[in-house]
Amino acid sequence: MDYRTVLTTCAYCGCGCGLYLEVLDGRVVNTIPCKTTPVNEGKLCVKGWNIHEFIHSPNRLTRPLIRKNGALTEASWEEALDYTAGRLWEIKEKHGSDSLAFLASAKVTNEENYLIQKFARAAVGTNNVDHCARL
């Protein structure tokens, strides 16, 4: 059996508490607060203690979906990525850069937010980028 603990940062609120995810055979099975991270010093709130629970939820999305004949249908990554890039390109060509808009996310990493706005600005050519900072 493969057991590991991985130090990471909580994904709920803006406190940024440090915690260990306990991993057993590729599944996150538990959460342990970290004592040496400065924000939480070994404490967690009720959400933090339970953060491992949604990771393996049976409701997780695990395959790309494309709407076909009105219904979202499983598709391969190749098809989904080509379709996405292709449709975005067509709309940009036909209606101009500012006819596209992007909502980045307060839930994904800094690096991912950087790439989303870089794609919007450098590839598409629009500053129509926002996220739910106000919500």
Partner: protein
């Protein structure tokens, strides 16, 4: 936050206004309790009797949307008694005279009429805050989610500058950022007017810097915020929307309008870890990876950049969002070939002065608080020491304005919305966590026992809440946490979606919707 979280415990007066800290930022609340144990005075200004209020030295319950009046009243008392810090005002600020002129029109008796807060309590707040050695302000969405959100924040800045309670250890103005990486998303330029590190898109030197770095022609036209994107979709000027890890079908005001907007999109892409109500409307849904399945960094509310580490492979065929974005970009004709998030951070650091010294090898341990301009810089614990970022601190003369929607005969009750301790935002994560879901499996409506009696409503009865935007059915919870005439409900629950009711009227500058105030009526459900 201008301060770091740990400093709060060394403040000797903490004013918490519009933050339900124990529910929404429990580990910040820990520091507030520690300060209290050390003898700090704790002042809570909140329309609801939140948990922190039970430990407060003073709790005032201002009427919804009257924060500017309350803060002006506090500052009027400070000025009238000469408790302000004239040396700080002279050396470090500008615009004082115009500010003083407006503020002097808010004596406590007038303010008491507007806010419902007793004049003597306003005097006490003023004295405690102004005379403290190190007073800290803590605020959250109760301040910002108003049509006067910017005014509210400026009024808090006025208060801190007037008393010199900023720019030192344990004293400053501390907005608590709601989402784990909302600070980082802003820092990374996920905003329509700025690149990374708040570098404006319409300043030619900055535009040129990014054009050279990204090898692309960039627009200097400020883009659309979420409300603008949604109306653009309805009007037809916006054709495609790409949503990553957001759920506007529950998080945005007037959900019926949001649905109309999203259904108008010629092409809607949603990248998420769950099939949210927003994803259900998409043309393409791309499965992203959760925080446990990828490397990266988050920036917390005290500007601390911390590592996120991959614990497991993405579930099923899900992929890390940075990898998906690169694939889409490359297929779009703009190749992106970063081999790791660490490489992306290197590019961020090169282009972003406040992140200039941040590299992954420095982030083990405690992380780094920006500004961190170079590799030898230790990071910055609190902001505005010695001088403000803009040079002199600018006072704003601000008049009180009522909320966009006020009660009338047809809609005689005030509704305000917020969060609970076991759920998070639109509930996509917490409601898929069995332990958290079990703690609170459904939404509820707080109603004062007096109003409940008048309507013949008992605990657990289903009631219909009706606003000008729509109506919902929810179970009533009579409680004196809210005052007569005021209702509260959390917005986490799709079955009783509070944002069907809320008012999309928003602040003219920040475009933040007025989630904290709207007018409704209450009926017993059949």
């Amino acid at each position: 936050m201008t301060n770091s979280i740990a400093e709060l415990e060394n403040a000797d007066c903490i004013l918490v206004i519009g933050s339900n800290t124990t529910s929404s930022h429990p580990l910040v609340a820990t520091r507030i309790f520690r300060a209290k144990e050390k003898g700090a005075r704790l002042v809570i200004a909140d329309p609801r009797k939140i948990q922190l209020a039970l430990k407060a030295d003073l709790h005032v319950r201002q009427n919804l949307g009257t924060d500017v009046a309350l803060l002006n009243g506090i500052m009027q008392v400070i000025l009238a008694n000469g408790w302000h810090n004239q040396a700080f005002v002279d050396e470090r600020t500008e615009g004082f005279d115009a500010f003083r002129k407006v503020t002097e029109d808010y004596p406590p008796e007038r303010v008491a009429e507007i806010t419902g807060v007793k004049a003597d309590d306003i005097r006490t707040m003023a004295e405690w805050y102004a005379k403290a050695q190190a007073a800290s302000i803590v605020y959250c969405m109760g301040i910002t989610q108003h049509t006067t959100g910017v005014d509210n924040v400026k009024a808090l800045a006025n208060l801190a500058m007037l008393t010199g309670q900023i720019g030192r250890e344990a004293t400053g103005v501390n907005p608590l950022r709601g989402q784990n990486n909302v600070q980082g998303a802003c820092d990374m330029g996920a905003l329509p007017n700025v690149y990374t590190g708040y570098q404006a898109v319409n300043i030619p030197d900055i535009q040129n810097k990014f054009q050279a770095a990204w090898n692309a022609k960039l627009s200097d036209k400020i883009g659309l915020t979420i409300p603008g994107i949604l109306s653009g979709l309805v009007e037809g000027s916006v054709k495609a929307l790409y949503v990553v890890g957001e759920n506007p079908m529950m998080s945005d005001p007037d959900v019926n309008h949001v649905e109309k907007a999203l259904r108008s999109a010629e092409f809607l892409v949603v990248q998420d870890i769950f099939l949210t109500p927003t994803a259900e409307l998409a043309h393409v849904v791309l499965p992203g990876a959760s925080f446990a399945e990828k490397d990266g960094t988050f920036s917390n509310t005290e500007r601390r950049v911390q590592r996120v580490r991959k614990a497991i492979e993405p579930v099923g065929d899900a992929r890390a969002d940075w990898e998906i974005m690169q694939e889409v970009s490359t297929r779009f004709g703009y190749p992106m070939n970063f081999r790791s998030p660490a490489e992306i951070m290197d590019e961020i650091a090169r282009l972003t002065p406040s992140y200039g010294g941040i590299t992954y090898d420095r982030l083990d341990g405690e992380g780094l608080c920006w500004p961190c301009p170079n590799k030898d810089h230790p990071g910055t614990k609190f902001l505005h020491s010695g001088r403000f970022t803009r040079g002199l601190g600018l006072f704003h003369a601000i008049e009180y304005k009522p909320p966009a929607e006020t009660i009338d005969e047809e809609y005689p009750l005030w509704l305000t919305t917020g969060r609970v301790h076991v759920h998070y935002h639109t509930g996509t994560m917490t409601r898929n966590s069995p332990s958290l879901h079990a703690e609170m499996p459904e939404g509820y409506l707080e109603v004062n026992p007096e109003d409940a009696r008048r309507l013949g409503v008992r605990r657990g009865d289903e009631v219909r809440v009706v606003s000008r935007r729509g109506h919902i059915v929810v179970k009533a919870m009579p409680t004196d946490r809210v005052e007569p005439g005021v209702l509260f409900m959390p917005f986490h629950f799709v079955e009783s979606c509070a944002n069907i009711l809320t008012n999309p009227a928003h602040d003219p500058i920040a475009k933040i919707p007025e989630y904290k105030v709207c007018a409704v009526r209450l009926e017993k459900a059949a």
